[in-house]
Amino acid sequence: MKETYKKYIKVVIGLIVAYAVFQILFQTGMINSYYNRIIRQIGIFLISALGLNLILGFTGQFTLGHAAFMSIGAYTSAILTRNFGVPFLLALIAAAFTAAVLAIIIGYPILRLTGDYLAICTLGFGEIVKVFIQNVDYLGGARGISGIENKSGFTVIFVLAALCFAIIMNLIHHSSKGRAILSVKEDEIAAQAMGINTTKYKIIAFAIGCGMAGLAGGLFAHFSQFIDPKSFDFSKSFELMTYVVLGGMGSLSGTVIGTSILIALPEWLRGLSDVVKEYRMLIYAIMLVSMMLFRPQGIMGTKEITVAGLKNFFGKIKRIFRSSSTSVNKGKEA
């Protein structure tokens, strides 16, 4: 027990240090507001991608409508803060809650479907949501909602991303529910035979994942300050899936890496010369395909980055370094 608390405190201290480092970098202008923006964007989409990884990577349910739940969260929170003056944090909770409830309502019938049929159903659901928003004047229709306050600061995104990470990590690796969810992915029929109510666990995972998408949507609305239905169409769902698959389905740290790379990459390509700039999206496409070809299981596979793993890694490097330096020294002496 003591050991647990020690680790717990260590992690919290680690988080605070990381947060402080970021803040110092922001305050001193080492990271300018452009990078601040990109980092916040990564954080927001990370929350959504973590939710998607729970559905796609851990539960094995093929969904293509994740962006729709982001739009539900975005619209819920934007309407609440803008039209009703609800406090931002409360609006975020409402965004996550609405998305999760809708996920349960939708999930109950359609999660009985499997594989590609589920994929097309969720994709259809996403399009239905989009068309619905376009046709409701109160939601601004195609003209979207502008004038949303800029509330999604680095702090709130950082805390919420860490929280979502911890929730999924705890759920998957340290609870019986998590083992049930994993069993659905591994072999649904066997899981059923063992007395696991697979539909129930699929819905639980779907609701939590979509709730996170809703949360991310709420953050996004107060980050971009403008939302329109076009921003959450099926290509956004594909994009989110790209983050998860590139990082590794079933690896949360992989999702972090995947999201960071794929959001930073097109921005980084802006820095290139004019000739290359014209081919920015072409280069992006080539890099995406080659990353999948060279690492089909994703960057992390199903592994996680751990302290032990890192120690091992750095230990190896150190040993290599030491052995080479001693050999150099030896050479000198000789």
């Binding site: 717990y8 992690v11 990271i31 800029n150 911890a166 990590m169």
Partner: protein, 392 residues
């Protein structure tokens, strides 16, 4: 049991830090070396255009117009005795990408001002950033009123706004085409189309006409026969199609095939040679509200069109002209302000009284230009000047 979780989480965040630091490290060194060396000799402005994404044609027409403006200004001695430099960025015509583009220009390239972009859904989030950072921005072709409203005084535009365009369209249909019954068909998912169609309907109905058909289609549709068949049975006098040139070309073609012979009226996004490429003979005789006409006696416009053709090998569009004028406005304001101080530029922009290529520029209290609307007609595959309507 919890220990692993948090240990892992710590490392994950570390990896995030590393990734971010890596990205920052790469480019910040580059920009600082750029800025330090050339600051004295150059004035840098930024341009945001939809260079990739679904409408790269419009994006390159706009970028080319801006490039020409910069070349012309530098040939005439530059701004404040320094050379003007344009850094263009791509917004992919996506609302989520455009703010990153302007943010990069402001924070990384330290531009004095920004011109851009095409879609209102991109210009609106850009405007909020321009306001936050206090950098002057001139939207080139975004006609939604919200663009300048969200800009808090820092955002101007080179084009007219949706309400004006819808109003002028309705006026023209009622008076010149003596239409009594109108049909509208537009893309429900495009903010641009919805905004204009809305204003057209209000003004047309108020002016004594009647909009008898108001239906929509979806983005990416290619077949409009279902709704056109319905229109064919209504015997309308005018069909209003406020959408992109490429879509409109298809609609006009199918309308003519179904025997709809009434006049067709459109909006400024028709203004691209692609309209005739796709629409062919079907768009012959159609009218549309536009920013400029190339078939005029205006020597400046003619010279621009020739230069454009010789340099880029293609016909300029109305958006090339707007983009040219936006750069001109920005350069003019910097010259008047006497420095690149942003509030001085904003003040100079507010007091603008400049002769552009096609029209004179003055801004009203909402930072929208007070300028006339041109109505062009398609004749022999060319856009011929039909009328110029001054706003009241």
């Amino acid at each position: 049991m919890k220990k692993n979780v948090f240990a892992k989480m710590g490392c994950t965040i570390l990896s995030l830090v590393l990734t971010a630091a890596m990205v920052t490290g790469c480019s910040s060194s580059k920009s600082s070396s750029d800025g330090g060396k050339e600051e004295s000799a150059e004035i840098v402005i930024g341009g945001v255009f939809p260079l990739t994404g679904d409408i790269p044609g419009i994006g390159s027409a706009m970028e080319n117009g801006a490039k020409l403006a910069v070349a012309d200004i530098n040939a005439a001695g530059g701004v404040l005795g320094k050379t003007l430099k344009l850094i263009s960025e791509d917004d992919q015509n996506q609302a989520s990408v455009a703010p990153n583009a302007i943010s990069k220009l402001i924070d990384q390239d330290k531009v004095a001002g920004v011109v851009g972009t095409y879609a209102s859904s991109c210009s609106i989030p850009m405007a909020t950033i321009a306001k936050e950072r206090g950098i002057p921005m001139i939207s080139i072709a975004s006609t939604n009123e919200k663009v300048t409203q969200e800009g808090g005084g820092y955002v101007f535009r080179a084009c007219f706004i949706d309400p004006l365009q819808g109003k002028v369209g309705a006026q023209f249909a009622l008076q010149k085409l003596s239409a009594a019954k109108a049909a509208m068909l537009y893309d429900k998912s495009q903010d641009y189309c919805v905004g204009i169609a809305d204003k057209f309907k209000t003004n047309f109905n108020e002016g004594g006409g009647e909009v008898v058909f108001d239906e929509t289609y979806n983005r990416g549709d290619s077949d409009f026969k279902a709704l056109l068949t319905k229109i064919a049975g209504l015997n309308v006098d005018v069909l209003y199609l406020p959408d992109n040139y490429s879509t409109v070309g298809l609609i006009a073609k199918q309308a003519r095939e179904l025997g709809i012979t009434c006049a067709i009226l459109g909006s400024d996004s028709w203004s691209d040679p692609g309209l005739v490429t796709v629409g062919g003979s079907a768009v012959e005789g159609c009218y549309f509200t536009d920013h400029v006409s190339f078939e005029t006696d205006n020597p400046k416009v003619k010279e621009f069109a020739e230069k454009y053709k010789s340099q880029f090998g293609s016909e300029p569009s109305g958006f090339s002209v707007l983009s040219y004028e936006a750069v001109l406005l920005m350069a003019n304001a910097i010259e008047k302000a006497g420095s690149t101080d942003s509030s001085a530029i904003v003040d100079a922009l507010k007091a603008t009284d400049m002769e552009g290529l096609a029209s004179n520029y003055k801004f009203d209290s909402d930072n929208n230009p007070i300028k006339s609307v041109v109505i062009n007609q398609v004749k022999d595959g060319k856009f011929v000047f039909a009328e110029e309507i001054q706003p009241e």
